[in-house]
Amino acid sequence: MSISTTGVLARPETAADPPAPRARRRWRPDLRRWISPIALIAVWQVASGTGVLPPDKLSSPWTVARAGAELVSDGELGSAFAVSITRVGAGFALGAVAGLLLGIVAGLSRWGEVLVDPPVQMLRTLPFLGLIPLFILWFGIGEEPKIALVSLGVAFPLYLNTHAGIRGVDGQLVEATTVLGFTRLERLWHVVLPGALPSVLVGLRQSLGLAWLALIVGETVNADAGLGYLINNAREFLRTDVIVVGLVVYAILGLVTDAVVRLIERRALRWRA
């Protein structure tokens, strides 16, 4: 075996260094990006202060902040928050289990696909928020219609992405592990599910976005507790400051859940980075 030849020939290949392990990305805020948001709030405050923006249309930022502090200190916001979070949690859990299970069944088995996919695809075309009147007739005006609405919003994106993710798994990888002696269950666990994971996480993000949307719509149409109730109640008393507080809380919740999914993606999909 001619070592020297091998050594020389090996070089062109190894010369293409793999990308160096990326330097840990430090989150360094670009402070300039704060200029315009702060300016907008300042304009808003000035417009309110000079009476250009009457408080029955929109309260000043300062009034909103005070209302927020007040709602927090008297516990009203806390309890509304707890009610809304519980609704989303329950609806998400139900919808996620249904979406994942159906997606896995349709993804793994031909019969599952034939039986599950057509009705799900048909139902998917219904605008699920338009089902509220039916849900009220079916479930009344308690917690059930809101939870059901959130579940529906969550189930469809998870189903679609799980199904597509499993169908998209590289058959060559499955074959390669078959030759390596993997059982059916091992292939499912080590090849099919990890292969479908990126797609499932995309579905998770869409699901959570729709979950908040479903909650807001469900709570605004009828509720006697929760953030939506807080907002609707404030409307009756022209409390635009409280309405804005409620909207800001919704926005923060949406941002936080999105950040959580991003974190999960970063950890679970490190191999793709």
Partner: protein, 233 residues
């Protein structure tokens, strides 16, 4: 005893006959190259020997463990390099030390903790070889494993495969359409056409080989494959 004994093997896809009463014996430790034009049934035969296609007629006996290295390395991208190596081993053997030893043989030990995505094409293919060999297979099936590599990397891989074969001495069936590769590596070169073996050439030449030694056989093999050397003259 032979490592592979195939008798009267036939495989049909619908009304198309891909393998047609094929006979093949591979001795223990023998390096056999299988040449054929595309569509001649090479890959089908390899899939049958790998146990991936059991819906066939005829006798197929394969002795012991079989490993395959495919044209694409087929690594699990979500497993670190060393974990890909030991995929085919069971719990107590599948440890990092064993993986690193196998990686060392293909000069990839320093990449043990990397993700497969960061490897070059040749490195990924070497990893695929390490994964096949770490199981100490009795039969190693190579399905055009160098086909997708650039010419320089391919030459390196030829040396590596020869070296690994001598060290582990499995029987090898190398499926390829590269005549020079077959002549460089194999003890015996078979030509597959229309689903059966139509020619066989023994190569007694000492290793490592240089191509010039084989020009007489090369012309004959090319004729077997239906390529006439003066066709373009």
């Amino acid at each position: 005893m032979a490592s592979v004994r195939v008798t009267g093997l036939s495989k049909r896809f619908g009304d198309r006959t891909v393998l047609n009463g094929l006979d093949l014996t591979i001795a223990r430790g023998e390096f056999v190259a299988l040449l054929g034009r595309s569509g001649s049934g090479k890959s089908t035969l390899l899939r049958v020997l790998a146990g991936l296609d059991r819906d066939v007629e005829g006798g197929v006996e394969v002795d012991g463990t079989v490993s395959v290295a495919f044209q694409q390395p087929r690594l699990l991208p979500w497993r670190r390099v060393w974990r890909n190596v030991v995929l085919g081993l069971h719990a107590p053997d599948a440890d990092r030390a064993r993986a690193v030893r196998a990686l060392d043989e293909v000069r990839l030990a320093e990449h043990a903790d990397d993700w497969p995505r960061t490897l070059s094409g040749g490195e990924a293919q070497r990893l695929s070889l390490a994964r096949a060999l770490v199981r100490e297979p009795d039969l190693l099936l190579l399905d055009e494993p160098f086909g997708a590599l650039d010419a320089l990397t391919r030459l390196t891989m030829h040396r590596l495969v020869e070296d690994l074969w001598r060290r582990h001495s499995p029987s090898v069936l190398l499926v390829t359409h590269d005549v020079d590769e077959a002549l460089l590596l194999a003890d015996r070169v078979l030509v597959l056409d229309d689903g059966r073996i139509v020619a066989e050439h023994l190569l007694g030449h000492p290793r490592p080989r240089r191509l010039a030694e084989h020009f007489d056989i090369r012309a004959r093999v090319l004729t077997d494959l239906g390529v006439s050397e003066d066709a373009f003259a």
